[in-house]
């Protein structure tokens, strides 16, 4: 039994399938749910903003109040490490540790560290949302 058909016409006609109508409504509901979820996680994650500040704070505490520990690293450990590579860098790290600029340098470095950590922290927002979602 053969029938006369225009092959292209038939292909054009059958090319597009009919999608279930409710897909649009399901998508809208999913978007609303996602927004609610994000709002909830944003509140939940808000306190964690202190982490980068605490991190920089710890560094500052050791750099300023436990200076001897830092001096040991800067003028001994780090200095001997740099001695291998560049004696100029080695002498400048040890002289920096004992100079008057040390506190100012440590403060500036702590602020920079906090800023960079905060920036990194904010960039990782979506990642943290997904960790919580999958947990």
């Amino acid at each position: 039994m053969k029938r006369d058909v225009n092959f292209d016409e038939i292909l054009n006609h059958i090319a597009i399938e009919e999608a279930p109508k409710e897909l649009i409504y399901k998508w809208k509901a999913e978007v609303q749910l996602q927004k609610e979820r994000k709002r909830f996680y944003a509140v939940l994650l808000r306190p964690s903003i202190v982490f980068p500040l605490v991190f920089a704070g710890f560094w500052y505490y050791f750099a300023v109040f436990k200076k001897e520990l830092f001096e040991y690293f800067l003028s001994d450990k780090l200095s001997s490490f740099f001695q291998e590579i560049s004696p100029v860098v080695a002498s400048s790290t040890s002289s920096f540790a004992s100079s008057d600029y040390y506190i100012i340098g440590a403060s500036i470095f702590s602020i920079l560290l906090a800023a960079v950590s905060l920036f990194w922290f904010c960039q990782g927002k979506e990642l943290r949302y997904s960790w919580i979602r999958n947990w």
Partner: protein
């Protein structure tokens, strides 16, 4: 229908709704042509819509929006099939075809010829049926079909040509082309 990409990137839900209303059938078709299972295609289409919504900022406007969306749909469906290759889609479809194969002529009398051709189209290899489908959407040039499927233009033309020939071969028993 004019879609404002800027509004889409601003996550305007009205604009997205307009876009999806216009394209939902085509997105679903691309997915369905790959997975060959309506229920799975429905779920995957839903996921594709969310993917498009969440990643619209990554659309660089170097291609048409539609082909960018079809590319997401195609890749999503293909990776689903790869993950579940030995399970649902192929087995389900084969079972369905076995049920339907009892008497082609009876079947043809019951259903429209276009439904029969649609089923035959689904018997073609995945690449052929997707390329043929995209080609007959009548909105994508070869270059955009190539972008959607991640292949070159020559391969697209080959897929379409071979797909048509194979489909004609499958239907030869029943159709006589108009001259």
């Amino acid at each position: 229908m004019e879609i404002d990409i800027k509004k889409l990137k601003e996550k305007s839900e009205d604009e997205f709704e307009k876009f999806f209303k216009n394209y939902i059938n085509r997105i679903y078709t691309v997915v369905y042509r790959v997975v060959r299972n309506p229920a799975t295609a429905e779920d995957l289409t839903q996921e594709v819509m969310m993917k498009v919504y969440n990643n619209i900022h990554k659309f660089k406007e170097q291609s048409q929006l539609s082909s960018w969306v079809f590319r997401i749909a195609y890749n999503h469906a293909v990776s689903h099939v790869r993950r579940h290759r030995s399970t649902e889609s192929i087995e389900d479809y084969d079972a369905k075809m076995k049920n339907n194969s009892a008497g082609h002529l009876d079947y043809l009398e019951r259903e429209e010829l276009s439904d029969y051709i649609k089923e035959k189209l689904m018997e073609l290899p995945e690449n052929y049926r997707v390329a043929l489908t995209l080609y007959h959407f009548k909105e994508l040039p070869y270059q955009e079909i190539a972008y959607t499927m991640g292949i070159n233009i020559g391969t697209v033309k080959t897929y379409i040509h071979r797909g048509r020939n194979e489909l004609k071969g499958l239907l030869e028993e029943f159709i006589r082309e108009e001259r």
